[in-house]
């Protein structure tokens, strides 16, 4: 049953604590430490108004914006990189350790791979949430220490914005994981499972940077299919209650972006499953 495959995969991941820690916990913890250092020490050390309040201290601490910011941090490419380490081990580990012939007779191949996909999806979501919670805690500690006023909350539209930010970042991690899964099954290699999505992501980022000045209204529908991170960015913009001037999004582009991410995720995981169902597992 699928639930058994999920439980076994979770058990393995919790026992493989080095991978679990570095893939899904390390970055949020480092983020917390950096945020605390920044809030409690660096800000004061570089405050031109020595002894008085720094410029950020004069601005109220907006809890809603802090949560959204923590879910879509500028360091998100690093989040993808670390989650890819976990994805590579989850999807290619059985090939690396030659354990498929041990595992495969105990559950169906479909359940075994779906179990891995769902455990990766859960771990990525947990890592994202942990990073967000720790970043917001660091922000709140800094705000209290600096005497900042705390505004914002989780009601109404704010909650939708937060859920949207979380969902988009998670989908982005799933898209990277889907490429890792396909690369892992196709190549039976942990290194390829890490390097293929990484290389692809870098190439897509360069492509996206080359078209960064293009107004959304002029953007062709196929671009998000070529660059899924562009699709994620377009959907982020679409979540904003009021669009920035000149950045109004054609609805076709928004739908194309959503479809592009779905195609990448379903194509990656589906392709991995289709390949895995036909694969010779006698030699890993």
């Amino acid at each position: 049953m699928l639930v058994d495959a999920i439980a076994a995969e979770t058990f393995k991941l919790t026992k493989n604590w080095r991978t679990s820690f570095f893939a899904f916990v390390f970055l949020p913890v480092v983020g917390l430490i950096i945020a605390l250092l920044s809030e409690l020490w660096l800000e004061d050390a570089f405050n031109p108004n020595q002894g008085g309040p720094s410029l950020p201290d004069l601005i109220p601490f907006n809890l809603t914006q802090a949560v959204i910011g923590s879910l879509q941090p500028p360091t998100f490419p690093l989040t993808i990189l670390f989650c890819l380490i976990g994805a590579a081990v989850i999807f290619a580990g059985e090939y690396r350790w030659e354990t498929w012939r041990l595992m495969a007779p105990r559950n169906t191949r479909t359940n075994s791979l779906l179990g891995k996909i769902l455990v990766y999806a859960g771990a990525a979501a947990a890592s994202l949430l942990l990073g967000a919670v720790l970043t917001v805690i660091a922000g709140l500690i800094g705000a209290v220490a600096d005497g900042q006023r705390i505004v914002g909350g989780f009601e109404g539209g704010a909650l939708n914005l937060i859920l949207g930010a979380f969902g988009l970042s998670w989908v982005h991690l799933l898209q990277a994981g889907a490429v890792a899964a396909l690369a892992a099954v196709a190549t039976r290699s942990i290194l390829a499972a890490l390097m293929v999505p990484l290389g692809l992501g870098i190439a897509q980022s360069i492509l996206q940077a080359l078209t960064s000045n293009m107004p959304p209204a002029e953007m062709e529908w196929w671009r998000p299919f070529l660059m899924p991170s562009l699709g994620a960015d377009i959907l982020k913009m679409a979540l904003q209650p009021v669009p920035l001037p000149g950045m109004e999004l054609p609805s076709a582009l928004v739908w194309a972006s959503a479809a592009a991410l779905a195609v990448w995720i379903l194509g990656g995981f589906g392709g991995a499953l289709a390949l895995f169902l036909r694969q010779d597992l006698s030699k890993e």
């Binding site: 495959a5 393995k12 604590w17 580990g93 354990t99 041990l102 559950n107």
Partner: protein, 297 residues
């Protein structure tokens, strides 16, 4: 005789190599069933097909009456088993038990570890295990969930003599006391002769012989006279169909009453006999006969 594992015209090719070549075989329920064959005979390939790890190129295979690749209460160990290096022996069995929907019952896991002699190493990481310990853990993993049948590929490979004896006793006990059908592949013919009730001899992907061990050995001619001679080919020609060559000796399938006359005849014909002794037929003799006969065709 109820067949729990079957192969019908089973063929598996890797490029130009025929790992299995139209093999037809039926392993019966109960007892210990052995698959014998030289390297590349197709034993492991057959096991892999039965376990759904690979697909046959042609032909059909069934496991407990159904198609391979569907998880059932079958234990298995293919080749030298590999395990997750970060798991202990106990955690390995727990994880496998969970994966198979058995819930990871701690009492069962501890009992299995004791049964294969790994109680003291239960908490140790598998990556530090010897080959023999891997084998023991592999057998324990195969026995999770009290399966009705276990498929074991070279279960005593890499074990010391004590370990081999313990494993032999365990496998025999599984068949005799627990009603488990044990299907194993092995190169160790003396070992197989001691624990198997029936054997199938594979050679170049085909079935060379199949039957009860006692019948196969009996069919091989029982007791034979081994003659060490200066000209084995001439001696074979003089003895006729009852003779077969074995290294620098001739094996003569004759009765003890006919032996003096045969020795006199060879001496008269100028064949020097340096040694003559009676040897009993064993599975090795059957194996050699069957594989050589097929190679000669």
């Amino acid at each position: 005789m109820t067949a729990i594992l079957t192969a019908t015209n089973l063929t598996k090719t890797y490029g130009d190599v025929h790992a299995l070549d139209g093999l037809t075989l039926a392993a019966p329920e109960g007892g210990v069933y052995g698959l014998l064959g030289p390297n590349g005979a197709g034993k492991s390939t057959l096991f892999r097909i039965w376990l759904g790890l690979i697909r046959p190129t042609a032909g059909q295979a069934t496991v407990l009456g159904g198609a391979p690749g569907v998880p059932r209460r079958i234990g298995s160990m293919i080749e030298t088993p590999r395990f997750h290096p970060f798991l202990s022996a106990r955690d390995t069995l727990k994880m496998l038990s969970i994966a198979g929907g058995l819930g990871g019952d701690a009492a069962e896991i501890d009992a299995l570890l004791e049964r294969v002699g790994l109680t003291e190493a239960a908490g140790r990481k598998v990556k530090g295990f010897s080959v023999g310990m891997h084998q023991r853990l592999g057998v324990a993993a195969a026995l999770l969930g009290s399966p009705s049948m276990v498929i074991l590929d070279e279960p005593t490979s890499g074990m010391d003599p004590n370990g081999i004896n313990e494993m032999r006793a365990l496998l025999r006990s599984l068949a005799d006391n627990d009603g488990v059908t044990v299907v194993l592949a092995s190169h160790q013919l003396a070992e197989v002769q001691k624990i198997c009730d029936r054997v199938a001899i594979l050679n170049r992907g085909k079935l060379a012989a199949e039957g009860k061990v006692s019948e196969l050995i009996g069919g091989a001619g029982g007791e034979r006279l081994r003659l060490s001679v200066n000209d084995p080919a001439r001696a074979q020609a003089l003895i006729g169909q009852a003779a077969s060559l074995d290294d620098q000796s001739v094996l003569a399938a004759i009765s003890r009453a006919d032996a003096p006359a045969l020795i006199r005849k060879l001496a008269t014909e100028g064949v020097d006999i340096t040694e003559a002794r009676w040897v009993g037929a064993d599975l090795e003799a059957v194996f050699m006969q069957q594989t050589e006969a097929r190679d000669a065709r």
